[in-house]
């Protein structure tokens, strides 16, 4: 999706890492990082302590109290089965965090590996990997998802895996670009002259220099993953009810948009806030790690 475009930008940025503490200090001064980071921290904290602070059981069906508007007893109202929306939103933070983590890990894990091999390896290896990546990229997203769902059946895990697979080519391209640009740098030549094997060079020297580009890109890839997962819920191919995953909640409540807006608006805004914060953090990371910005 539009994350593909990030890969292009970031490859040009060629950032250089200069220490985590310096990074943190710079970020804390950046307005966008402050806002984005705080919200994300809240979400992560909720993901851990959610079950302990939730006022109701998010799965308990209470047919008598359906579609109650927000009130003192139910801060975000209740949904069509009488479940407390606030508790469901709280539990949903876990799925938000899970999607971010799993999809991006799959995409980054395979993508970085493939990118390293393509960039550092032989010409034919590069060709083969890049053509395979082209195939995955060219496939219309919705049909790629169908393929994965057809094999694995619809569920949240299937959605995360499918989104992860869709994200592999972008990471591969990004890393490959970086590897190619540092391939002939002096310090890599030096390592080679000293007799270091290709694996050592790849993981020991090249990778650390590519890390900042990967980090920045990841902060953009996470929101895309979350939104893609909720797009799958739209097709009924993602998280299945009664899971309190925000995307599934928005889709499940869409017939109530006119009659009980909170059933749709609360999870929708939750996704918005989460994704927006990721994007803000991403912007800040980019500003900090990009030496060409003023």
């Amino acid at each position: 999706m539009s994350a593909a475009l990030m890969a292009g930008e970031i490859a040009e940025a060629a950032p250089r890492a200069t220490g985590w503490r310096w990074l943190l200090r710079q970020l804390l001064r950046h307005k966008q990082a402050q806002i984005g980071g705080t919200v994300l921290l809240v979400i992560v904290v909720c993901a851990f302590i959610g079950p302990y602070i939730a006022p109701y059981d998010p799965l308990k069906v209470d047919a008598l109290n359906r579609l109650l508007p927000p009130s003192g007893a139910h801060w975000f109202g209740t949904d069509e089965l009488g479940r407390d929306m606030f508790s469901r939103i709280l539990f949903g933070t876990r799925y938000f965090a899970l999607i971010c983590l799993v999809s991006v890990s799959i995409a980054a894990g395979f993508g970085v590996l493939l990118g390293l091999i393509a960039g550092a390896g032989s010409y034919w290896g590069d060709m083969a990997i890049m053509r395979a990546m082209d195939v995955v990229l060219a496939f219309p997203f919705i049909l790629l998802i169908l393929a994965v769902v057809a094999v694995l059946g619809p569920s949240l895990w299937t959605a995360m895996i499918a989104v992860g697979i869709a994200g592999v080519p972008n990471y591969a391209r990004l890393v490959r670009g970086e590897v190619l640009s540092v391939k002939h740098e002096e310090y890599v030549e030096a390592m080679r002259a000293l007799g270091a094997g290709p694996v050592r060079i790849m993981f020991g020297t090249v990778l650390p220099n590519v890390v900042s580009a990967i980090v920045v890109y990841t902060s953009y890839a996470m929101p895309v993953a979350v939104l893609s997962a909720s797009a799958l819920s739209f097709l009924g191919l993602g998280a299945q009810p009664p899971l309190p995953e925000w995307g599934a909640m928005v889709v499940g409540g869409r017939t109530f948009l006119r009659t009980a807006w909170w059933v749709v608006a609360c999870p929708g805004m939750a996704i918005f806030v989460g994704v927006f914060s990721c994007n803000l953090l991403g912007n800040a990371l980019r500003d900090v790690l990009d030496p060409r910005g003023t």
């Binding site: 619809p154 009924g236 299945q240 009810p241």
Partner: protein, 529 residues
């Protein structure tokens, strides 16, 4: 300088925006020129009835464009429409129709026995690969000895015949038009119905105008002459929320509304509510009888008694449904309320628990029952994408938990769910089926059953087979009664509920009438000023 530019742009924007205000398009009010606006949930993939089983396709063709040999009246009895009468031979294998004369298609060509015969021949012809072939049963051939006589010959008596030919699938198309349009006929249907196709913007809108050659022969129509409305515009709106908004803004004359929005609109004086409680759909629970424990009728009965059908109606359908304790929906000919009352399940968790105890289940830890060391935990499957199904499943799960049975809900889209039932690894499923004929009972439950999960039961199978061969309505109804009793006694099916057809019309709309199978009779509709 820069700041000034930004301000200028913003001001211009604010000035221009309200100019885009366009008044909502409401139907013009002149009586001679009334236009009806209705909604389609999806674009019909074709308007050639022999190529499709789609409900959308059939609703458009059936209500507006095509007419059939018979229609069903309010008592569920077939009545003459384009046919004037019929006889059934003694061996019940030949049905002879007498056709009306003077009926003309909208393209001016005559409707006669030859035209009618060609419709059925097209379906029977293997080369056309028509899905409708599945609705002709044992029909062997159709003959037209003279322009007003049509003879159907079957290799064995086929009782569902009348109900099937009353559906839009067997509405008559003009053979001349088919010959002329060839492959494109699906975009240019021609029939004898009250309206004819004027234009079709694919994916968006279908516009129909009065058919000048139309004559009303249906006995259940209030308006015996030409349709009151001169045009009908069918717009495709797939999103529920958008359809509701269009109804409220006056852009739609009438529309179905999802169960949850009904309460709000019932109070609203802007609308009339048309609720049809005689329906042909049924939500029911069925079991995988090929392995324990649901090969035991007592287990199945227990589940059936445990379900709180009133709670389902309230939670899942918001009250706009009725509980079902009979294997047939109340709109299917042969339905008998007395049977449901006498033999059907009631909400009786105590009886359910007793049945389970007798079958050897004892209370185990954490509230679940245990037998032979295994806890009562079963899979409860259904199809995804519909809130009413999700909610019904939740209620059933909760009801079963109350009697100590644990269930794991698994849903998948219909295309994955239905084939998955052929595998033996499920226990209970929630199914919904719509049918206009009681043959549905044998199609679903005559062993081995539609998903090969029904055990052989010679007595029950016998009854079901017999019902399909009785062409005489009274005899058939009696047989179908026996079938219902048997299915309830063996608990092969646990009926749950049937949802109502709820339609809202603008307040100035009169006589929005539905026929026995809930198809619209558009010629009756009048819109006041």
């Amino acid at each position: 300088m820069f700041r000034r530019m930004v301000l200028l742009a913003a001001t211009l924007g604010c000035l221009v925006a309200p100019a885009w205000r366009t008044p909502a398009r409401a139907a013009p009010a002149r009586a001679a020129d009334t236009v009806l606006h209705f909604r389609l949930g999806e674009d019909p993939e074709t308007l050639y009835n022999i190529k499709s089983l789609s409900l959308t396709v059939n609703s458009v063709l059936g209500a507006y464009l095509l007419e059939r040999l018979v229609y069903f009246d309010a008592t569920g009895t077939p009545q003459p429409w384009l046919a004037t009468g019929w006889t059934v031979s003694d061996d019940q294998k030949v049905v002879t129709f007498k056709l009306r004369s003077g009926v003309v298609f909208s393209d001016g060509t005559p409707f006669n026995a030859a035209a009618a015969k060609s419709q059925f021949d097209l379906v029977l012809d293997k080369a056309n690969a028509s899905p409708l072939l599945s609705r002709l049963g044992t029909l062997r051939k159709v003959e037209a000895p003279d322009p007003t006589t049509l003879v159907f010959s079957f290799s064995a008596p086929y009782a569902p015949f009348f109900a099937n030919i009353a559906q839009a699938g067997f509405g008559f198309n003009s053979p001349t038009a088919i010959a002329k349009s060839g492959d494109q006929y699906g975009r240019n249907p021609v029939g004898t119905g009250p309206y004819m196709l004027k234009s079709w913007v694919p994916g968006t809108e279908i516009t129909l105008v009065r058919n000048p050659h139309f004559q009303q022969f249906r006995g259940d129509a209030l308006n015996k002459g030409a349709p009151y409305a001169s045009q009908v515009v069918l717009t495709v709106i797939s999103e529920e929320a958008v359809a509701q908004a269009a109804l409220e803004s006056g852009e739609l004359t009438a529309a179905n509304v999802a169960a949850d929005a009904i309460d709000r609109m019932v109070q609203n004086p802007q609308f009339h509510t048309v609720i049809n409680k005689v329906v042909t759909n049924l939500y029911f629970v069925e079991f995988n009888e090929t392995h324990p424990p649901f090969n035991d009728p007592a287990m199945r009965q227990a589940v059936s008694f445990a379900i709180n059908r009133d709670a389902v109606v309230k939670a899942a359908f918001n009250g706009y449904a009725h509980t079902a304790n009979d294997p047939l929906a109340n709109g299917i000919p042969g339905y008998d309320a007395a049977i449901g009352a006498k033999y059907g399940p009631t909400f009786d968790p105590a009886a359910a628990k007793a049945l389970l105890a007798k079958a050897g289940w004892t209370p185990g830890p954490d509230g679940k029952l245990v037998k032979d060391g295994k806890a009562a935990m079963f899979s409860l499957k259904s199809y995804s994408g519909f809130e009413v199904v999700d909610r019904t499943l939740s209620v059933i799960q909760s009801n079963l938990a109350d009697i100590g049975i644990g269930t794991k809900i698994e849903t998948a889209d219909w295309g994955s769910f239905y084939p998955s039932l052929l595998k033996p690894d499920w226990d209970i499923d929630l199914m919904r089926w719509t049918s206009s004929d009681p043959s549905i009972l044998s199609l679903l439950f005559r062993s081995p059953g539609h998903r090969k999960a029904t055990l052989e039961n010679a007595a029950q199978d016998d009854i079901l087979d017999r019902c399909n061969t009785l062409m005489d309505q009274k005899a058939r109804t009696a047989c179908v009664g026996e079938a219902q009793i048997s299915l309830l006694q063996t608990a092969t099916i646990a009926p749950v509920a049937s949802d109502w057809v709820v339609i809202f019309t603008q307040a100035n709309v009169k006589d929005y009438n539905l026929d026995f199978f809930n198809n619209l009779i558009p010629g009756d509709i009048q819109v006041a000023e």
